[in-house]
Symmetry: D2
């Protein structure tokens, strides 16, 4: 696994700085940000549109495509960070809480190896 | 700004553990994960569907709604973490690189206060 | 193929009537309608989230699931009809034009059996 | 309102012909088609990303933009027609049924002028 040692706090700070420098806060309504996020999610999805599931694992071996995919993932993440900034949401806490909730919803003994 | 002191590395580790415990790796093809991400992005968007932009800022003052929104944001983030795990993508690096690229694309002097 | 003998004109008329009876025109800005359409597209997509491509053909044999999918398809279509009404767009013409444009973009001799 | 006199039956026939000529049926799994539809829905949405609701009505007066939007609407419609073809779904019936169901869910007397 790569390092990823940066905290969400630091990434949110950088995103906030980027927005503030351009005075883009006026455009960054939660409504606009979630639309932007959904647009980027679709651009990410487009990379995998006509593939079989098995094929889609292989993009990890295609350096050029992986870079393009990483940019789309970053776009999604940036909108998420911007939204967390606007709403004052602790995203780490939200993630940790949701994983705990999902652990209860999908108990290991019942869901091992199957989704339903 | 809330704390958000957790690293992406730690969040990815927790997500990987959640998936491994349930043996869900077989379902977690990149293709499926980006579809799941787009579905969750739409569920997040649904909270803001009929609002004016100005109204949408007010959800930050509605504790119950904010919790529901936080859960959808966490769902988006979890798919993003799972995808980073499957692709071996350093998401922090991708975000930092994209912010740098966008800083060049949208120079402060030209884009201050406007998008286009 | 089922009948589908209704014109888009008639379907648009019914949609317009539904909206007018409820005085919902004020909410039906193009921005809101495209958001609604994207939300419904994601709900449609969710039915196929964890499937293999081959499996996804089989939903045509599952009457109950097919009904649920038909409702999501109708939701997408209704937003598209409402948007055509608001924008005064001739959707049939747009479709016929786009098929002609795509026929030029993807000539049969080059694209037979492959997308790229 | 423009003419839109074409039946869905005829539009589906043209779409089926387009696909058959290119032997693209093998790619047109329901799973792939709903992904494609969601991607096109997002491209349609992108046109309205940073607007206010009130502004978004004005695109109807911008001929160039309207043409571009019409193309995205056609793309969404084409995926919907292709999906109806693959699933053998009578889309007109699905739309008429859904409007009837929504008429019961949102009675005029209670929902006139408001969504909730």
């Amino acid at each position: 696994m790569p390092d990823d040692a940066t905290t969400l706090h630091e990434l949110r700070r950088r995103m906030a700085e980027f927005v503030a420098e351009r005075d883009w806060g006026r455009f960054h309504s939660p409504k606009n940000l979630v639309m932007g996020l959904a647009v980027e999610a679709a651009e990410l999805m487009e990379h995998f549109l006509w593939m079989e599931n098995a094929e889609s694992f292989a993009v990890a071996q295609d350096a050029q495509r992986l870079t393009a995919i990483g940019e789309e993932m970053a776009d999604v993440a940036c909108y998420l960070l911007a939204l967390a900034n606007v709403l004052g949401m602790d995203l780490s806490d939200a993630i940790v809480d949701k994983l705990a909730k999902n652990a209860t919803k999908y108990p290991v003994e019942r869901y091992r190896g199957r989704y339903q």
